[in-house]
Amino acid sequence: MEWTRHLLIVPILLPMVTGAALLLFDETRHTFKAVVSIASTVLLLVAALALLGIANGAPEGSAALATSYAVADWPAPFAIVLVLDRLSALMLTVTAVLALASLVFSIARWDRSGPHFHTLFQFLLMGLGGAFLTGDLFNLFVFFEVTLAASYGLLLHGSGPFRVRSGLHYIAINLAASALFLIGVSLIYGVTGTLNMADLALRIPGVPPEDRMLLLAGAGILGVAFLVKAGMWPLGFWLTSAYMAAAAPVGAVFVILTKVGIYVMLRLSLLLFGSPAGELTGFGGTALVAGGIATLVFATSGVLASQSMGRLAGYSVLVSSGTLLAAVGMGDAAVVSGALFYLVSSTFTTAALFMLIELVERAREPGADLLAVTREAYGEDKEEVVEEHEDEEVGVVMPGALAILGVSFGCIALLLAGLPPLSGFLAKFAMLSGMLNLDGLGSPAEIPARTWLLVALVILSGFAALVAMMRTGIRTFWAPLEVIVPRVLVVEVAPILALLLLCLAMTVGGGAMINYTEAAARALHDPSTYIQGVLGPISTGALP
């Protein structure tokens, strides 16, 4: 047990050391760099899986549920701690899987289209690992900044006017959000005198009423900073163009960045304003549900209106964000459990979509999207062309590469729409079932109107995704104006297929997955185990 404790720091140290070491080598040795980077990410995945095993092995309800690691070996509330529980282990594993897929995809050509791709990528992983593991608010800020700094570099990777312009907006917005982050953190510190999350959870119920306003203002401002990252309407207008502009593997790994915002909302809202917080319980829940619903409406219209695939993928990220935010705002263990399942499934799906788009775009004439739209709008004179072909054999032989891409595209459409048999269906089903049975299965509880609205929107957003994907799919694979067989390498298709296979595996192993997310959600709704895991056993009197 003793040495496994040090595993907690591996997801931070390993990418940091790899990223720094890769700086020492010249860009011309790109094969070497790629090998080192991928090997390091494989190790990261192994470490994340080991941590997942540790978190999953902990008996439920015990303090061991949250394993903490004192980085400088100072006792908990005074120094930096890393905390592992089921939620952070799950997020780490998702990050590692996604990173590996994107890296493998990138070695086909993207990693050579600009300097220091692998270093930036590893630093991004370091920031993400730290953000998921950290146990205090200020380190959360530091790791957020590490992640963002790396993401600025990655977004600009490959350069070009569009990337630089979107990058400029992205950086400016995130710098402003970081200012809000700091204001929120310092307000909370000013009121409570601590930054350790577990300690905060202990102190918040005891905050005197005259200071509550300041505390809530601090929490609200902090929340806005994360909601900017998560892309909640009206804070998420920057997201689609930034994600569209990013190179394909970068766009794929950026999908997890919005989920960091959601992870923090989930963690902090349930830890700080969970059931023991007295009058403050559930602070911000209504705002989150309303914001999530607004995001869903905006993103669903965006999905339907998208003329290009990149924009479609960007709006799909927003759909997933909106659904998750609303689910987090519900603050119910069953809903959160479904939401965690959905988080994993939708992250893999949208990432696969980002990578697939780049391959599919190669098969199309430039500007095909626009042409197709104009033809639909003004009617088309294509009938003669169709007649000419009627004498020939019925059906078109689809080239192999296009067939694989088409099947992947179809799977992604199923996943986004939430249709069986893939995991998108299970995830949405788990979430909706949680929403409609707030007091357990079959209870006669009254279902509020906003829940009905949310349920309807979640289903509608799936339908919109299906319509949009069908339209794009037909245009691209069935009725292209000109068939260009794309040159696709195995390393480019393999990560997409791997992510889709994982989604399939999550359907087959749905039971185990749901068990895990349910345990994670229950632990989140019982902050005392987290607090004890960090601060050690506390006399029951001090516990909220």
Partner: protein
């Protein structure tokens, strides 16, 4: 002292926000810098304003925490300054690249009229 500091933070924030909303990249950079100064002062003030109190404990005798300034906001400010400095430098590079690629210093890369 409280009033002076509050006004200073307010003026910096106000000017910063106004500049961020302007269309020129240079105004954006200055606006973000002013905003980060305001935020740094704000963090500092969250440790309560004290004069003539050291943040470092004197280990020679018995320690009375009440006679020392809170060291944590000071270290937070230091970290925030370093990070803010680095990201602003990065923003400047992107700004120059944008100017070079688009030939305009408008944040959208083209004049809006």
């Amino acid at each position: 002292m409280e009033l002076t500091l509050a006004i200073a933070i307010g003026v910096l924030t106000g000017s910063g926000v106004w500049l961020i909303l302007r269309p020129r990249t240079y105004q954006l950079v200055i606006g973000l810098s002013l905003l980060s100064y305001a935020v740094n002062l704000f963090i500092f003030s969250m440790g309560r304003l004290r004069t003539g109190a050291a943040p470092v404990l004197d280990p020679s005798g018995a320690v009375d925490p009440a006679s020392y300034a809170d060291p944590i906001p000071q270290s937070l400010v230091l970290t925030a300054i370093v990070i803010g400095f680095a990201t602003t430098a990065l923003l400047l590079v992107v700004l120059l690249a944008s100017r070079g690629l688009t030939g305009s210093d408008h944040v959208d890369g083209r004049e809006s009229h």
